[in-house]
Protein backbone atom coordinates (compact mmCIF):
# COMPACT_ATOMS: atom_id res chain seq x y z
CA UNK A 1 0.00 0.00 0.00
CA UNK A 2 1.59 3.28 -1.08
CA UNK A 3 0.51 6.90 -0.74
CA UNK A 4 -1.31 7.02 -4.09
CA UNK A 5 -3.55 4.11 -3.26
CA UNK A 6 -4.20 5.46 0.23
CA UNK A 7 -5.12 8.76 -1.38
CA UNK A 8 -7.50 7.03 -3.80
CA UNK A 9 -9.06 5.16 -0.89
CA UNK A 10 -9.54 8.40 1.05
CA UNK A 11 -11.12 10.01 -2.01
CA UNK A 12 -13.62 7.17 -2.39
CA UNK A 13 -14.38 7.41 1.33
CA UNK A 14 -15.05 11.12 0.97
CA UNK A 15 -17.52 10.48 -1.87
CA UNK A 16 -19.28 7.89 0.27
CA UNK A 17 -19.31 10.24 3.26
CA UNK A 18 -20.95 13.00 1.19
CA UNK A 19 -23.46 10.41 0.00
CA UNK A 20 -24.22 9.40 3.57
CA UNK A 21 -24.75 13.01 4.60
CA UNK A 22 -27.19 13.43 1.68
CA UNK A 23 -28.97 10.20 2.53
CA UNK A 24 -29.45 10.93 6.21
CA UNK A 25 -30.31 14.53 5.45
CA UNK A 26 -32.94 13.40 2.96
CA UNK A 27 -34.39 10.91 5.43
CA UNK A 28 -34.60 13.62 8.08
CA UNK A 29 -36.29 16.17 5.82
CA UNK A 30 -38.47 14.15 3.48
CA UNK A 31 -40.25 12.10 6.12
CA UNK A 32 -43.88 13.02 6.71
CA UNK A 33 -44.69 15.68 9.29
CA UNK A 34 -43.26 19.06 10.16
CA UNK A 35 -39.93 18.43 11.90
CA UNK A 36 -40.28 21.63 13.91
CA UNK A 37 -43.77 20.69 15.13
CA UNK A 38 -42.62 17.13 15.90
CA UNK A 39 -39.60 18.42 17.80
CA UNK A 40 -41.52 20.96 19.88
CA UNK A 41 -44.49 18.72 20.60
CA UNK A 42 -48.23 19.36 20.34
CA UNK A 43 -48.27 21.98 23.12
CA UNK A 44 -45.95 24.47 21.43
CA UNK A 45 -47.53 27.60 20.00
CA UNK A 46 -47.62 28.33 16.27
CA UNK A 47 -45.13 31.18 16.83
CA UNK A 48 -42.62 28.87 18.50
CA UNK A 49 -42.90 26.41 15.63
CA UNK A 50 -42.47 29.21 13.09
CA UNK A 51 -39.43 30.54 14.98
CA UNK A 52 -37.79 27.10 14.95
CA UNK A 53 -38.58 26.67 11.26
CA UNK A 54 -36.85 29.96 10.54
CA UNK A 55 -33.88 29.17 12.78
CA UNK A 56 -33.27 25.82 11.02
CA UNK A 57 -33.98 27.17 7.51
CA UNK A 58 -36.82 24.64 7.26
CA UNK A 59 -38.79 26.85 4.87
CA UNK A 60 -35.99 27.06 2.32
CA UNK A 61 -35.80 24.58 -0.59
CA UNK A 62 -34.04 21.30 0.21
CA UNK A 63 -30.77 22.00 -1.66
CA UNK A 64 -30.45 25.30 0.22
CA UNK A 65 -31.07 23.52 3.50
CA UNK A 66 -28.46 20.93 2.62
CA UNK A 67 -25.99 23.67 1.69
CA UNK A 68 -26.59 25.40 5.05
CA UNK A 69 -26.07 22.06 6.75
CA UNK A 70 -22.75 21.50 4.93
CA UNK A 71 -21.62 25.02 5.73
CA UNK A 72 -22.25 24.42 9.42
CA UNK A 73 -20.64 21.00 9.20
CA UNK A 74 -17.44 22.46 7.75
CA UNK A 75 -17.21 24.60 10.90
CA UNK A 76 -17.61 21.42 12.97
CA UNK A 77 -21.15 22.42 13.88
CA UNK A 78 -23.71 19.64 13.85
CA UNK A 79 -26.52 21.79 15.19
CA UNK A 80 -28.20 21.79 18.56
CA UNK A 81 -29.96 18.95 20.32
CA UNK A 82 -33.46 19.87 21.44
CA UNK A 83 -33.29 17.06 23.98
CA UNK A 84 -30.19 18.17 25.92
CA UNK A 85 -30.27 21.77 24.73
CA UNK A 86 -26.55 21.57 23.97
CA UNK A 87 -24.56 21.43 20.73
CA UNK A 88 -24.79 17.93 19.23
CA UNK A 89 -21.00 17.76 19.05
CA UNK A 90 -20.77 18.29 22.83
CA UNK A 91 -23.26 15.49 23.40
CA UNK A 92 -21.45 13.11 21.07
CA UNK A 93 -18.07 13.97 22.59
CA UNK A 94 -19.51 13.02 25.97
CA UNK A 95 -21.15 9.73 24.98
CA UNK A 96 -18.98 8.40 22.14
CA UNK A 97 -15.88 7.38 24.16
CA UNK A 98 -17.79 4.87 26.31
CA UNK A 99 -19.22 3.28 23.15
CA UNK A 100 -15.85 3.20 21.37
CA UNK A 101 -14.18 1.75 24.45
CA UNK A 102 -16.76 -1.03 24.56
CA UNK A 103 -16.36 -1.73 20.83
CA UNK A 104 -12.57 -1.75 20.94
CA UNK A 105 -12.46 -4.15 23.89
CA UNK A 106 -15.05 -6.31 22.10
CA UNK A 107 -12.93 -6.34 18.97
CA UNK A 108 -9.98 -7.56 21.04
CA UNK A 109 -12.14 -10.28 22.63
CA UNK A 110 -13.39 -11.23 19.16
CA UNK A 111 -9.88 -11.72 17.79
CA UNK A 112 -8.46 -13.36 20.93
CA UNK A 113 -11.24 -15.96 21.03
CA UNK A 114 -12.30 -16.19 17.38
CA UNK A 115 -8.86 -16.88 15.90
CA UNK A 116 -7.91 -19.75 18.28
CA UNK A 117 -11.31 -21.39 17.82
CA UNK A 118 -10.91 -21.22 14.04
CA UNK A 119 -7.31 -22.46 14.14
CA UNK A 120 -8.15 -25.37 16.45
CA UNK A 121 -11.16 -26.28 14.31
CA UNK A 122 -8.99 -26.41 11.21
CA UNK A 123 -6.27 -28.33 13.01
CA UNK A 124 -8.65 -31.00 14.28
CA UNK A 125 -10.73 -30.95 11.08
CA UNK A 126 -13.54 -33.47 11.12
CA UNK A 127 -12.90 -34.47 14.74
CA UNK A 128 -14.58 -33.58 18.02
CA UNK A 129 -12.89 -30.19 18.70
CA UNK A 130 -13.80 -29.15 15.14
CA UNK A 131 -17.49 -30.03 15.55
CA UNK A 132 -17.57 -28.24 18.89
CA UNK A 133 -15.82 -25.17 17.51
CA UNK A 134 -18.12 -24.95 14.49
CA UNK A 135 -21.20 -25.30 16.66
CA UNK A 136 -20.04 -22.56 19.03
CA UNK A 137 -19.22 -20.30 16.06
CA UNK A 138 -22.57 -20.94 14.41
CA UNK A 139 -24.59 -20.25 17.56
CA UNK A 140 -22.51 -17.13 18.18
CA UNK A 141 -23.39 -15.81 14.71
CA UNK A 142 -27.09 -16.64 14.97
CA UNK A 143 -27.80 -14.88 18.22
CA UNK A 144 -28.52 -11.17 18.42
CA UNK A 145 -26.23 -9.21 20.73
CA UNK A 146 -29.03 -8.34 23.13
CA UNK A 147 -29.90 -12.02 23.55
CA UNK A 148 -26.28 -12.68 24.52
CA UNK A 149 -26.48 -9.77 26.90
CA UNK A 150 -29.59 -11.11 28.61
CA UNK A 151 -28.24 -14.67 28.77
CA UNK A 152 -24.83 -13.62 30.14
CA UNK A 153 -26.50 -11.35 32.69
CA UNK A 154 -28.80 -14.12 33.80
CA UNK A 155 -26.10 -16.76 34.18
CA UNK A 156 -23.04 -14.77 35.29
CA UNK A 157 -24.79 -11.90 37.00
CA UNK A 158 -27.69 -13.56 38.79
CA UNK A 159 -27.51 -17.37 38.95
CA UNK A 160 -23.74 -17.34 39.50
CA UNK A 161 -23.04 -13.71 40.39
CA UNK A 162 -19.37 -13.30 39.54
CA UNK A 163 -19.59 -10.26 37.25
CA UNK A 164 -21.25 -6.87 37.61
CA UNK A 165 -24.22 -6.44 35.30
CA UNK A 166 -24.62 -2.72 35.08
CA UNK A 167 -22.62 0.45 34.49
CA UNK A 168 -18.93 1.12 34.02
CA UNK A 169 -17.69 1.34 37.62
CA UNK A 170 -18.72 0.36 41.12
CA UNK A 171 -20.44 3.08 43.15
CA UNK A 172 -17.55 3.05 45.62
CA UNK A 173 -14.93 3.55 42.89
CA UNK A 174 -14.11 7.21 42.37
CA UNK A 175 -14.60 8.34 38.77
CA UNK A 176 -11.20 9.41 37.40
CA UNK A 177 -10.77 12.97 36.14
CA UNK A 178 -11.86 13.30 32.52
CA UNK A 179 -8.88 13.17 30.16
CA UNK A 180 -9.83 11.06 27.13
CA UNK A 181 -13.28 9.81 28.17
CA UNK A 182 -11.97 6.25 27.87
CA UNK A 183 -12.21 4.91 31.41
CA UNK A 184 -9.45 2.35 30.94
CA UNK A 185 -7.10 5.14 29.87
CA UNK A 186 -8.29 7.74 32.36
CA UNK A 187 -7.93 5.42 35.34
CA UNK A 188 -4.35 4.67 34.29
CA UNK A 189 -3.59 8.35 33.78
CA UNK A 190 -4.92 8.96 37.28
CA UNK A 191 -2.63 6.19 38.48
CA UNK A 192 -5.54 4.34 40.05
CA UNK A 193 -4.90 0.64 39.42
CA UNK A 194 -7.90 -0.51 41.43
CA UNK A 195 -10.25 1.67 39.38
CA UNK A 196 -8.66 0.36 36.17
CA UNK A 197 -9.33 -3.22 37.21
CA UNK A 198 -12.87 -2.28 38.25
CA UNK A 199 -13.52 -0.74 34.82
CA UNK A 200 -12.09 -3.83 33.13
CA UNK A 201 -14.22 -6.06 35.36
CA UNK A 202 -17.34 -4.16 34.34
CA UNK A 203 -16.42 -4.57 30.68
CA UNK A 204 -16.27 -8.38 30.75
CA UNK A 205 -19.95 -9.21 30.19
CA UNK A 206 -20.95 -6.39 27.81
CA UNK A 207 -17.79 -6.79 25.73
CA UNK A 208 -18.32 -10.55 25.47
CA UNK A 209 -21.98 -10.10 24.49
CA UNK A 210 -20.99 -7.60 21.82
CA UNK A 211 -18.09 -9.71 20.55
CA UNK A 212 -20.05 -12.94 20.04
CA UNK A 213 -21.36 -12.44 16.53
CA UNK A 214 -18.03 -11.22 15.14
CA UNK A 215 -16.24 -13.93 17.07
CA UNK A 216 -18.32 -16.56 15.30
CA UNK A 217 -17.65 -15.03 11.86
CA UNK A 218 -13.96 -14.74 12.66
CA UNK A 219 -13.75 -18.39 13.77
CA UNK A 220 -15.64 -19.65 10.71
CA UNK A 221 -13.54 -17.70 8.25
CA UNK A 222 -10.25 -18.55 9.96
CA UNK A 223 -11.18 -22.23 9.90
CA UNK A 224 -11.99 -22.34 6.19
CA UNK A 225 -8.92 -20.29 5.25
CA UNK A 226 -6.60 -22.43 7.39
CA UNK A 227 -8.02 -25.58 5.80
CA UNK A 228 -7.35 -24.13 2.37
CA UNK A 229 -3.74 -23.39 3.30
CA UNK A 230 -3.29 -26.80 4.95
CA UNK A 231 -4.03 -28.39 1.56
CA UNK A 232 -1.26 -26.44 -0.17
CA UNK A 233 1.86 -28.32 -1.32
CA UNK A 234 4.26 -26.26 0.77
CA UNK A 235 2.46 -27.28 3.96
CA UNK A 236 2.63 -30.91 2.78
CA UNK A 237 6.34 -30.44 2.34
CA UNK A 238 6.74 -29.01 5.82
CA UNK A 239 4.87 -32.01 7.20
CA UNK A 240 7.14 -34.32 5.22
CA UNK A 241 10.18 -32.56 6.70
CA UNK A 242 8.74 -33.37 10.11
CA UNK A 243 8.05 -29.83 11.32
CA UNK A 244 6.00 -29.85 14.49
CA UNK A 245 2.26 -29.25 13.86
CA UNK A 246 2.28 -26.25 16.19
CA UNK A 247 5.07 -24.63 14.23
CA UNK A 248 3.34 -25.30 10.90
CA UNK A 249 0.10 -23.82 12.21
CA UNK A 250 1.61 -20.71 13.76
CA UNK A 251 4.52 -19.96 11.43
CA UNK A 252 3.42 -21.07 7.98
CA UNK A 253 -0.33 -21.60 7.74
CA UNK A 254 -1.63 -18.81 9.92
CA UNK A 255 -0.28 -15.78 8.12
CA UNK A 256 -1.78 -16.42 4.67
CA UNK A 257 -4.97 -17.63 6.35
CA UNK A 258 -5.25 -14.50 8.45
CA UNK A 259 -5.36 -11.99 5.58
CA UNK A 260 -8.95 -12.65 4.42
CA UNK A 261 -10.01 -12.66 8.06
CA UNK A 262 -8.45 -9.27 8.59
CA UNK A 263 -10.61 -7.81 5.84
CA UNK A 264 -13.83 -8.81 7.59
CA UNK A 265 -12.68 -7.39 10.91
CA UNK A 266 -13.52 -3.91 9.66
CA UNK A 267 -17.03 -4.99 8.74
CA UNK A 268 -17.46 -6.70 12.07
CA UNK A 269 -16.32 -3.60 13.89
CA UNK A 270 -18.97 -1.64 12.02
CA UNK A 271 -21.61 -4.14 13.01
CA UNK A 272 -20.41 -3.69 16.59
CA UNK A 273 -21.00 0.06 16.46
CA UNK A 274 -24.61 -0.74 15.61
CA UNK A 275 -25.01 -3.66 17.99
CA UNK A 276 -23.50 -1.58 20.78
CA UNK A 277 -26.90 0.10 20.92
CA UNK A 278 -28.45 -3.21 21.98
CA UNK A 279 -25.75 -4.20 24.44
CA UNK A 280 -25.67 -0.75 26.02
CA UNK A 281 -29.37 -0.96 26.69
CA UNK A 282 -29.02 -4.35 28.39
CA UNK A 283 -26.10 -3.28 30.60
CA UNK A 284 -27.10 0.32 31.26
CA UNK A 285 -23.88 1.44 29.56
CA UNK A 286 -23.62 5.23 29.44
CA UNK A 287 -22.64 5.36 25.77
CA UNK A 288 -24.09 6.78 22.59
CA UNK A 289 -26.98 4.32 22.64
CA UNK A 290 -29.12 5.79 25.38
CA UNK A 291 -28.63 9.19 23.77
CA UNK A 292 -29.33 7.83 20.28
CA UNK A 293 -32.54 6.04 21.23
CA UNK A 294 -33.69 9.01 23.30
CA UNK A 295 -33.19 11.50 20.46
CA UNK A 296 -34.85 9.13 17.99
CA UNK A 297 -37.93 8.80 20.18
CA UNK A 298 -38.00 12.59 20.63
CA UNK A 299 -37.50 13.15 16.87
CA UNK A 300 -34.54 15.39 17.65
CA UNK A 301 -33.49 16.15 14.06
CA UNK A 302 -29.95 17.48 14.41
CA UNK A 303 -29.04 14.95 17.07
CA UNK A 304 -30.17 11.99 14.95
CA UNK A 305 -28.34 13.24 11.87
CA UNK A 306 -25.21 13.92 13.93
CA UNK A 307 -25.22 10.53 15.63
CA UNK A 308 -25.62 8.62 12.36
CA UNK A 309 -22.93 10.71 10.64
CA UNK A 310 -20.42 10.11 13.45
CA UNK A 311 -21.04 6.37 13.45
CA UNK A 312 -20.71 6.22 9.67
CA UNK A 313 -17.47 8.20 9.84
CA UNK A 314 -16.08 5.88 12.51
CA UNK A 315 -16.98 2.94 10.28
CA UNK A 316 -15.30 4.42 7.20
CA UNK A 317 -12.12 5.30 9.09
CA UNK A 318 -12.00 1.79 10.51
CA UNK A 319 -12.30 0.24 7.05
CA UNK A 320 -9.55 2.40 5.62
CA UNK A 321 -7.29 1.41 8.52
CA UNK A 322 -8.06 -2.26 7.83
CA UNK A 323 -7.26 -1.81 4.12
CA UNK A 324 -3.93 -0.24 4.96
CA UNK A 325 -3.19 -2.99 7.48
CA UNK A 326 -4.02 -5.69 4.91
CA UNK A 327 -1.54 -4.05 2.56
CA UNK A 328 1.13 -4.09 5.25
CA UNK A 329 0.54 -7.75 6.12
CA UNK A 330 0.19 -9.03 2.56
CA UNK A 331 3.29 -8.39 0.46
CA UNK A 332 1.46 -9.39 -2.72
CA UNK A 333 -1.06 -6.56 -2.40
CA UNK A 334 1.73 -4.22 -1.29
CA UNK A 335 3.71 -5.00 -4.45
CA UNK A 336 0.70 -4.80 -6.74
CA UNK A 337 -0.20 -1.41 -5.31
CA UNK A 338 3.39 -0.26 -5.70
CA UNK A 339 3.43 -1.19 -9.38
CA UNK A 340 -0.02 0.20 -10.10
Amino acid sequence: MNWTSIGKRLGAALVVMIGISMLIFAIARVMPGDPARIALGPNASAEQVAALRAERHLDAPLPVQYFEFLKALSRGDLGKSLYTNRPVTTDIAQFLPATLELCIVSAIVMVLLGLPIGILSAHFRGRMPDHLGRLVALIAVCTPAFVWGVILQLFFGYFWPIFPIEGQLMQSTPVPPHVTGFLLVDTLVAGNGAAFLDALYHLVLPATALAMSGLGQCARLTRSNMIEVYDKPYVEMERAYGFRPFRIATRYAFRPAFIPTLTILGLEFAAMLGNAFLVEKVFGWPGLSRYGVEVIIRKDLDAIVGTVLIIAAAFLIMNILVDILVGVVNPRIRLAAGRG
Binding site: G33, K281, F315
Partner: protein, 290 residues
Protein backbone atom coordinates in the same frame (compact mmCIF):
# COMPACT_ATOMS: atom_id res chain seq x y z
CA UNK B 1 -17.09 -33.02 -25.96
CA UNK B 2 -19.65 -33.91 -23.29
CA UNK B 3 -23.28 -32.85 -23.40
CA UNK B 4 -23.71 -30.37 -20.58
CA UNK B 5 -27.28 -29.60 -21.56
CA UNK B 6 -28.63 -33.13 -21.73
CA UNK B 7 -31.46 -33.91 -19.31
CA UNK B 8 -29.78 -37.03 -17.94
CA UNK B 9 -26.76 -35.07 -16.73
CA UNK B 10 -29.01 -32.37 -15.27
CA UNK B 11 -31.08 -34.84 -13.29
CA UNK B 12 -28.02 -36.60 -11.93
CA UNK B 13 -26.61 -33.23 -10.85
CA UNK B 14 -29.86 -32.41 -9.07
CA UNK B 15 -29.85 -35.65 -7.14
CA UNK B 16 -26.22 -35.06 -6.19
CA UNK B 17 -27.29 -31.76 -4.63
CA UNK B 18 -30.11 -33.44 -2.74
CA UNK B 19 -27.72 -36.13 -1.55
CA UNK B 20 -25.27 -33.48 -0.33
CA UNK B 21 -28.02 -31.73 1.58
CA UNK B 22 -29.51 -34.87 3.14
CA UNK B 23 -26.04 -36.25 3.86
CA UNK B 24 -25.29 -33.43 6.28
CA UNK B 25 -27.15 -34.02 9.56
CA UNK B 26 -26.89 -30.33 10.46
CA UNK B 27 -28.71 -29.28 7.28
CA UNK B 28 -31.46 -31.78 8.00
CA UNK B 29 -31.70 -30.53 11.59
CA UNK B 30 -32.03 -27.00 10.26
CA UNK B 31 -34.74 -28.04 7.85
CA UNK B 32 -36.66 -29.74 10.66
CA UNK B 33 -36.41 -26.60 12.84
CA UNK B 34 -37.57 -24.38 9.98
CA UNK B 35 -40.47 -26.62 8.96
CA UNK B 36 -41.71 -27.00 12.54
CA UNK B 37 -41.53 -23.25 13.22
CA UNK B 38 -43.25 -22.36 9.94
CA UNK B 39 -46.04 -24.88 10.54
CA UNK B 40 -46.54 -23.68 14.13
CA UNK B 41 -46.65 -20.07 12.94
CA UNK B 42 -49.08 -20.75 10.08
CA UNK B 43 -51.46 -22.80 12.22
CA UNK B 44 -50.95 -20.70 15.36
CA UNK B 45 -54.70 -20.29 15.84
CA UNK B 46 -55.10 -24.05 16.18
CA UNK B 47 -51.90 -25.24 17.86
CA UNK B 48 -51.44 -22.64 20.60
CA UNK B 49 -53.16 -23.43 23.90
CA UNK B 50 -54.31 -19.84 24.59
CA UNK B 51 -54.83 -17.97 21.30
CA UNK B 52 -56.73 -15.18 23.10
CA UNK B 53 -53.53 -14.27 24.99
CA UNK B 54 -52.34 -12.46 21.88
CA UNK B 55 -54.13 -9.32 23.04
CA UNK B 56 -53.40 -7.26 26.14
CA UNK B 57 -55.33 -9.48 28.55
CA UNK B 58 -54.26 -12.83 30.00
CA UNK B 59 -55.02 -14.96 33.02
CA UNK B 60 -55.05 -12.60 36.00
CA UNK B 61 -54.97 -15.55 38.38
CA UNK B 62 -51.58 -16.59 37.01
CA UNK B 63 -49.51 -13.45 36.51
CA UNK B 64 -45.76 -14.03 36.11
CA UNK B 65 -46.30 -17.72 36.76
CA UNK B 66 -43.19 -19.88 36.53
CA UNK B 67 -43.14 -22.59 33.86
CA UNK B 68 -45.64 -25.28 34.91
CA UNK B 69 -48.75 -26.88 33.44
CA UNK B 70 -50.88 -25.50 31.80
CA UNK B 71 -48.40 -22.69 31.05
CA UNK B 72 -45.42 -24.81 29.94
CA UNK B 73 -43.12 -21.83 29.46
CA UNK B 74 -44.70 -19.70 32.19
CA UNK B 75 -46.70 -16.50 31.84
CA UNK B 76 -45.73 -12.84 31.57
CA UNK B 77 -46.59 -9.99 33.94
CA UNK B 78 -50.09 -9.81 32.44
CA UNK B 79 -50.70 -13.52 32.92
CA UNK B 80 -50.36 -14.29 29.22
CA UNK B 81 -49.07 -17.69 28.11
CA UNK B 82 -45.48 -17.29 26.86
CA UNK B 83 -45.62 -20.30 24.55
CA UNK B 84 -48.64 -18.88 22.75
CA UNK B 85 -47.06 -15.46 22.42
CA UNK B 86 -43.78 -16.87 21.14
CA UNK B 87 -45.60 -18.79 18.39
CA UNK B 88 -47.49 -15.64 17.38
CA UNK B 89 -44.20 -13.77 17.59
CA UNK B 90 -42.78 -16.27 15.10
CA UNK B 91 -45.72 -15.63 12.80
CA UNK B 92 -45.09 -11.89 12.83
CA UNK B 93 -41.32 -12.33 12.35
CA UNK B 94 -41.78 -14.67 9.40
CA UNK B 95 -44.26 -12.32 7.71
CA UNK B 96 -41.78 -9.45 8.12
CA UNK B 97 -38.91 -11.51 6.73
CA UNK B 98 -40.90 -12.62 3.68
CA UNK B 99 -42.12 -9.11 2.88
CA UNK B 100 -38.70 -7.51 3.37
CA UNK B 101 -36.97 -10.06 1.14
CA UNK B 102 -39.75 -9.98 -1.46
CA UNK B 103 -39.05 -6.27 -1.97
CA UNK B 104 -35.33 -6.03 -1.23
CA UNK B 105 -34.22 -8.94 -3.41
CA UNK B 106 -35.67 -7.80 -6.78
CA UNK B 107 -34.47 -4.23 -6.21
CA UNK B 108 -30.95 -5.36 -5.30
CA UNK B 109 -30.81 -7.93 -8.09
CA UNK B 110 -31.79 -5.40 -10.76
CA UNK B 111 -29.31 -2.79 -9.51
CA UNK B 112 -26.55 -5.40 -9.36
CA UNK B 113 -27.29 -6.82 -12.83
CA UNK B 114 -27.45 -3.44 -14.53
CA UNK B 115 -24.36 -2.03 -12.80
CA UNK B 116 -22.33 -5.19 -13.35
CA UNK B 117 -23.21 -5.58 -17.01
CA UNK B 118 -23.32 -1.95 -18.16
CA UNK B 119 -20.13 -0.83 -16.45
CA UNK B 120 -18.86 2.73 -16.89
CA UNK B 121 -20.77 5.58 -15.30
CA UNK B 122 -23.88 3.49 -14.64
CA UNK B 123 -21.72 1.10 -12.67
CA UNK B 124 -19.95 3.91 -10.81
CA UNK B 125 -23.08 5.77 -9.77
CA UNK B 126 -25.17 2.73 -8.84
CA UNK B 127 -22.40 1.10 -6.85
CA UNK B 128 -21.46 4.32 -5.02
CA UNK B 129 -25.12 4.62 -3.97
CA UNK B 130 -24.93 1.02 -2.79
CA UNK B 131 -21.71 1.80 -0.90
CA UNK B 132 -23.42 4.66 0.90
CA UNK B 133 -26.04 2.29 2.29
CA UNK B 134 -23.41 -0.29 3.16
CA UNK B 135 -21.30 2.28 5.00
CA UNK B 136 -23.79 2.81 7.80
CA UNK B 137 -24.24 -0.01 10.30
CA UNK B 138 -27.58 -1.56 9.22
CA UNK B 139 -29.17 -1.30 12.65
CA UNK B 140 -28.28 2.38 12.97
CA UNK B 141 -29.77 3.25 9.58
CA UNK B 142 -32.95 1.31 10.30
CA UNK B 143 -33.17 3.05 13.68
CA UNK B 144 -32.77 6.46 12.10
CA UNK B 145 -35.51 5.74 9.56
CA UNK B 146 -37.78 4.42 12.29
CA UNK B 147 -37.05 7.58 14.23
CA UNK B 148 -38.95 9.65 11.70
CA UNK B 149 -41.80 7.20 11.21
CA UNK B 150 -44.46 5.85 13.51
CA UNK B 151 -43.43 2.50 14.99
CA UNK B 152 -45.78 0.21 13.08
CA UNK B 153 -45.32 -3.16 11.42
CA UNK B 154 -45.43 -1.57 7.95
CA UNK B 155 -42.81 1.07 8.77
CA UNK B 156 -40.59 -1.47 10.47
CA UNK B 157 -40.55 -3.53 7.29
CA UNK B 158 -39.88 -0.41 5.25
CA UNK B 159 -36.90 0.57 7.40
CA UNK B 160 -35.36 -2.89 7.18
CA UNK B 161 -35.98 -3.15 3.43
CA UNK B 162 -34.26 0.19 2.87
CA UNK B 163 -31.04 -1.16 4.31
CA UNK B 164 -31.29 -4.70 2.96
CA UNK B 165 -31.31 -4.36 -0.86
CA UNK B 166 -27.67 -3.14 -1.14
CA UNK B 167 -26.38 -6.54 -0.01
CA UNK B 168 -28.14 -8.17 -2.95
CA UNK B 169 -26.88 -5.46 -5.29
CA UNK B 170 -23.29 -6.19 -4.16
CA UNK B 171 -23.72 -9.96 -4.45
CA UNK B 172 -25.31 -9.93 -7.92
CA UNK B 173 -22.91 -7.22 -9.10
CA UNK B 174 -19.89 -9.39 -8.30
CA UNK B 175 -21.36 -12.46 -10.01
CA UNK B 176 -22.46 -10.41 -13.02
CA UNK B 177 -19.02 -8.84 -13.47
CA UNK B 178 -17.48 -12.30 -13.64
CA UNK B 179 -20.21 -13.79 -15.85
CA UNK B 180 -20.23 -10.88 -18.32
CA UNK B 181 -16.78 -12.01 -19.53
CA UNK B 182 -17.92 -15.59 -20.15
CA UNK B 183 -18.23 -17.04 -23.62
CA UNK B 184 -21.97 -17.60 -23.51
CA UNK B 185 -22.62 -13.90 -22.86
CA UNK B 186 -20.31 -12.87 -25.70
CA UNK B 187 -22.09 -15.40 -27.92
CA UNK B 188 -25.48 -13.93 -27.03
CA UNK B 189 -24.15 -10.44 -27.76
CA UNK B 190 -22.76 -11.58 -31.09
CA UNK B 191 -26.08 -12.98 -32.28
CA UNK B 192 -27.68 -9.67 -31.31
CA UNK B 193 -29.63 -10.61 -28.19
CA UNK B 194 -31.23 -7.66 -26.40
CA UNK B 195 -29.75 -6.34 -23.17
CA UNK B 196 -32.86 -7.43 -21.29
CA UNK B 197 -32.49 -10.94 -22.67
CA UNK B 198 -28.83 -11.11 -21.68
CA UNK B 199 -29.48 -9.77 -18.18
CA UNK B 200 -32.48 -11.87 -17.24
CA UNK B 201 -32.18 -14.93 -19.48
CA UNK B 202 -28.43 -15.44 -19.64
CA UNK B 203 -26.78 -13.92 -16.56
CA UNK B 204 -29.54 -14.05 -13.93
CA UNK B 205 -29.95 -17.86 -14.01
CA UNK B 206 -26.29 -18.14 -13.02
CA UNK B 207 -26.85 -15.85 -10.05
CA UNK B 208 -29.75 -17.90 -8.65
CA UNK B 209 -27.70 -20.29 -6.49
CA UNK B 210 -26.01 -17.41 -4.63
CA UNK B 211 -29.26 -15.44 -4.38
CA UNK B 212 -31.27 -18.38 -3.04
CA UNK B 213 -28.59 -19.25 -0.50
CA UNK B 214 -28.43 -15.68 0.69
CA UNK B 215 -32.23 -15.38 0.89
CA UNK B 216 -32.45 -18.46 3.09
CA UNK B 217 -29.77 -17.15 5.44
CA UNK B 218 -31.41 -13.73 5.39
CA UNK B 219 -34.81 -14.93 6.60
CA UNK B 220 -33.00 -15.57 9.87
CA UNK B 221 -31.05 -12.31 9.77
CA UNK B 222 -34.11 -10.17 8.95
CA UNK B 223 -35.83 -11.72 11.96
CA UNK B 224 -32.72 -10.92 13.99
CA UNK B 225 -32.75 -7.31 12.80
CA UNK B 226 -36.49 -6.88 13.36
CA UNK B 227 -36.23 -8.24 16.88
CA UNK B 228 -33.28 -5.91 17.55
CA UNK B 229 -35.36 -2.92 16.47
CA UNK B 230 -38.29 -3.90 18.64
CA UNK B 231 -35.94 -4.67 21.53
CA UNK B 232 -35.00 -0.98 21.41
CA UNK B 233 -38.68 -0.05 21.42
CA UNK B 234 -38.59 1.05 17.77
CA UNK B 235 -40.53 -1.83 16.29
CA UNK B 236 -44.01 -3.25 16.58
CA UNK B 237 -45.81 -1.85 19.61
CA UNK B 238 -47.61 -3.82 22.36
CA UNK B 239 -49.82 -5.72 22.77
CA UNK B 240 -48.78 -7.38 19.47
CA UNK B 241 -46.56 -10.32 20.42
CA UNK B 242 -43.04 -9.66 19.17
CA UNK B 243 -39.98 -11.65 20.19
CA UNK B 244 -37.68 -8.63 20.60
CA UNK B 245 -40.02 -6.59 22.74
CA UNK B 246 -40.81 -9.68 24.83
CA UNK B 247 -37.11 -9.97 25.70
CA UNK B 248 -36.92 -6.27 26.55
CA UNK B 249 -40.10 -6.41 28.64
CA UNK B 250 -38.97 -9.55 30.44
CA UNK B 251 -35.56 -8.09 31.29
CA UNK B 252 -37.33 -5.80 33.75
CA UNK B 253 -38.30 -8.81 35.86
CA UNK B 254 -34.87 -10.42 36.12
CA UNK B 255 -33.73 -12.53 37.85
CA UNK B 256 -36.90 -13.78 39.54
CA UNK B 257 -38.87 -13.83 36.30
CA UNK B 258 -35.98 -15.31 34.32
CA UNK B 259 -38.30 -17.20 31.97
CA UNK B 260 -39.87 -13.95 30.75
CA UNK B 261 -36.88 -13.01 28.61
CA UNK B 262 -34.96 -16.29 28.40
CA UNK B 263 -37.56 -18.20 26.35
CA UNK B 264 -38.21 -15.48 23.74
CA UNK B 265 -34.42 -14.97 23.55
CA UNK B 266 -33.86 -18.66 22.87
CA UNK B 267 -36.78 -18.60 20.41
CA UNK B 268 -34.96 -15.97 18.35
CA UNK B 269 -31.74 -17.98 18.50
CA UNK B 270 -33.56 -21.13 17.35
CA UNK B 271 -35.22 -19.63 14.28
CA UNK B 272 -32.07 -17.81 13.11
CA UNK B 273 -30.03 -20.96 13.68
CA UNK B 274 -32.54 -23.06 11.69
CA UNK B 275 -32.45 -20.82 8.63
CA UNK B 276 -28.66 -20.59 8.85
CA UNK B 277 -28.25 -24.36 8.87
CA UNK B 278 -30.56 -24.68 5.86
CA UNK B 279 -28.72 -21.85 4.06
CA UNK B 280 -25.32 -23.47 4.68
CA UNK B 281 -26.74 -26.78 3.51
CA UNK B 282 -28.06 -25.20 0.32
CA UNK B 283 -24.66 -23.66 -0.40
CA UNK B 284 -22.97 -27.03 -0.04
CA UNK B 285 -25.64 -28.64 -2.20
CA UNK B 286 -25.16 -26.09 -4.99
CA UNK B 287 -21.41 -26.57 -4.79
CA UNK B 288 -21.82 -30.35 -4.97
CA UNK B 289 -23.92 -29.98 -8.10
CA UNK B 290 -21.18 -28.08 -9.88
Amino acid sequence: MSEPGSPVVARRGGSRAVAAFVGNPLSVLGLVIVVVIVLLAVFADFVTPFPDHVGPIGDFAAMSAAPASPYVLGTDAMGRDLFTRIIYGYRLSLIMAVVVLAIATPVGVIVGLVAGYKGGWTDYILMRITDVFLAVPPLVLAMAIMGFLEPTLMNGMLAITAMWWPWYARLVYNVTRAEAQEGYVLAAETVGASTLHILFREILPNCWPSILTKMTLDVGFVILMASSLSFLGLGVQPPTPDLGSMVAEGAKYMPDGWWLSLWPALAILLVVLGFNLVGDGLREAFEAEN
